[in-house]
Symmetry: C3
Subunit: 266 residues, 3 copies
Amino acid sequence: MLELRLVQGSLLKKVLEAIKDLVNDANFDCSSTGFSLQAMDSSHVALVALLLRSEGFEHYRCDRNISMGMNLNNMSKMLKCSGNDDIITIKADDGSDTVTFMFESPTQDKISDFEMKLMDIDSEHLGIPEAEYHAIVRMPSAEFAKICKDLASIGDTVVISVTKEGVKFSTRGDIGTANIVVRQNTTVDKPEEATIIEMNEPVSLTFALRYMNSFTKATPLSNTVTISLSSELPVVVEYKIAEMGYIRFYLAPKIEEDEDETKPQV
Amino acid sequence: MLELRLVQGSLLKKVLEAIKDLVNDANFDCSSTGFSLQAMDSSHVALVALLLRSEGFEHYRCDRNISMGMNLNNMSKMLKCSGNDDIITIKADDGSDTVTFMFESPTQDKISDFEMKLMDIDSEHLGIPEAEYHAIVRMPSAEFAKICKDLASIGDTVVISVTKEGVKFSTRGDIGTANIVVRQNTTVDKPEEATIIEMNEPVSLTFALRYMNSFTKATPLSNTVTISLSSELPVVVEYKIAEMGYIRFYLAPKIEEDEDETKPQV
Amino acid sequence: MLELRLVQGSLLKKVLEAIKDLVNDANFDCSSTGFSLQAMDSSHVALVALLLRSEGFEHYRCDRNISMGMNLNNMSKMLKCSGNDDIITIKADDGSDTVTFMFESPTQDKISDFEMKLMDIDSEHLGIPEAEYHAIVRMPSAEFAKICKDLASIGDTVVISVTKEGVKFSTRGDIGTANIVVRQNTTVDKPEEATIIEMNEPVSLTFALRYMNSFTKATPLSNTVTISLSSELPVVVEYKIAEMGYIRFYLAPKIEEDEDETKPQV
């Protein structure tokens, strides 16, 4: 039996909004340690990894490891029916082919049960090794989202270049070119407004803006985003989920001289 | 001669927004007692009844009973040109084939006259007898609107079941099922947030969500909605219009085993 | 070399929003006195004239007069990438076929350079003589915008009639007629809410609402609009740009009995 009670239910809504456009169907894996998901996007270019640790739930019961295949669009439709202050409980009986989302209003005057059919989804779980990155940029997530959106109005790809002084985002399109430089800045009033650059060596990598803009759908989950760059690895765009876990997006850089989208080498 | 002056003109705008999607053309009936309308929706399934009592107008002159046929979409276009704080006066000369809507800004610095052609519309006025209902539910109108909208993302029909403890709204669709229970609750800070259930006997009836969602366009008119249910009668969904009257929507329940939409037996 | 630094960069964004739907491509003329533009709309019916005086810029360097042809839609795309509090600098090297828009965030932590290709655009500069008008109406720009929008839901043209008492805007369409009278009113709390009418002789002129509604895109630039009317001249609809200059729109009246759109006789 599975019963996961999340007091801040709106968080689960935001998680679904962050990934449903990228991934159609996916297995949610539930074990004693947490509720997680790993899935390629539908064009098999980007990878999403989600973790919500068991400690973040008010009540967490998972008798045996299970993998529940869900259509994320349908799941999102159901979660959208919850109120923003509702407590959400995910429930499944052993061997059942359905999952139930229960929404409780703060006053307990309104209780909703949404039952969804599960799907059989083939998936292979990729081991993602811990890696050393050439540069790690932490910046306000809203700033990163605006930059990706702005550049997409000019071009299709973004070159992210990191030096000790700052990080540069560049693009080129039919109507012209754009370069946006964000400087390292740690002396801000609010820590979440800082831009912090850890750099082992300078790096300059090219990515498809379409995917970057998909990743920024996770912006409401966190005030900051962490971008980990290495010339031999897919970039990791990570949004922490307060006290619970994270969403990480992986995307392989585009090879210079080769404008085709390449699969990530995770 | 007809001259009806409504200080809170925005109320008339809201009335039109509430019914114009359901009804295309309708006769407004004007008598010494008030300004009213009764009309079937264009597919002849639901019935709307509006009453604005003469006492609610600052000035109310109606020399003889008249029935004015209007295209509600055109009337809505004109009313949308009024400011939210404008005073609206409805004027018609005896025997005229036009009606005039006059809008006065609060400062009287802007006066608008919109003249609309009247239409000849055949209509029969249905007598709606006072009836006993098995159950009457009064609840916050925004809550009811959210429930109807949420359920429509899952299924096409809603089963409304009333017991002493609460009212349950259920649906079923391709992606799963949904049950929303709202409990009786009379101990709230604000009376308009209460959910009050008067029940003579339990009742469970099925309705087309499409119509319910049309009815909830009247939500801006009132903080509360009253739903009167009986197994032998169309449901009545009523929005009171403060100190003036009401909008009531009537819809026949769907017969079990028969998924076709049936006409209301008013 | 050209370098124009505008502290209130959002103003340039608003200017582009005001004219980009009316004019596709235009020459911006830069001289020691200011940054200006004069262009016919794409159907050659209306004329736009923009002036931003050099004194309004924090830094203004223009070594020699130049005319820079720009696609306003592309320019708008780039300016939309600036933050609302950003300082915008327009830069061009002598003989270059590109222009650069530089955006500096208030904290200087984010610096963006957008480079756009210039175009060769044929244009003739029309001399617009100072003229005497029969009537000049100054009114709140939001009020004028609402009137033009409201009337366009009823008809295609607006008759603007000025008397000493006020200004009347009228239209006629399939669903009826509309008359909106705005009275002269100089005794208001805030000067920008006044409606002031200077009249030498009564005037009544007809204009295409489609163009009037395009002109009102400039509403965010100024709280007031000035409408100058004369039976022998195109109307001038002017929005002042605080301490810098103006946008003026010119449109020839429609001739009675002739419903075709006529070119302005500027």
